[in-house]
């Protein structure tokens, strides 16, 4: 049973528009959430994170929103660029140590020029 779900395997967006990637989780004990980005033939790289005490975190073109009551988070990319085309993994962990990070299955984003 997947505790972190990314229900959209892929998403296609026009360059310059907003990309919204969604993630749902089932474990209410998760208190830290991360997004990683993965290009083909490379390992995932950390993109942005959010603690459960916040509902929004912003870093340049990337914003993560957390809705704890709905157990839902989303990553917004504005404006989208062709270089953003990659697989995006949502991840969640519990506790300050957070050794067991649970990853979603990933969403492949295509940004069309």
């Amino acid at each position: 049973d997947q505790q972190v779900k990314q229900n959209s395997p892929s998403l296609s967006v026009q360059e310059g528009r907003i990309s919204i990637l969604n993630c749902d989780y089932t474990n209410s004990m998760f208190d830290y959430f991360l997004w990683y980005k993965k290009y083909p033939a490379e390992g995932p790289t950390f993109l942005i994170s959010i603690s459960s005490i916040k509902d929004k975190n912003e870093d340049g073109r990337f914003t993560v929103f957390l809705n704890k009551s709905a157990k839902h988070l989303s990553l917004h990319i504005v404006p989208s660029q062709p270089g953003d085309s990659a697989v995006y993994f949502c991840a969640a962990s519990e506790g300050a140590g957070g050794f067991k990070t649970i990853f979603g299955a990933g969403t492949r984003l295509f940004v069309k020029a």
Partner: protein
Amino acid sequence: DVKVTQSSRYLVKRTGEKVFLECVQDMDHENMFWYRQDPGLGLRLIYFSYDVKMKEKGDIPEGYSVSREKKERFSLILESASTNQTSMYLCASRSDRGPNQPQHFGDGTRLSIL
């Protein structure tokens, strides 16, 4: 920049062989992890280590073991490889200096068991 290096990008082995996957990090990180990535399943944690000679099982440890004799090196061992262990294997490291540090990943080893 943190560098996590996995010794092989591609590896082909036969059923029943003992397989070693090596991972080295250069940032003196305390924590190291092994994941496998399969389509539709994301990254699943096999084992992790929070210190030299210390190891803990992740979510799917069956058929695997690990070794951490030095801080910078974390090895994943497939005791007797089986075809269902064909996968992409990712190693990661993470600092303990501060809460909620992100993991840094290597580029992966694509392992095929024939």
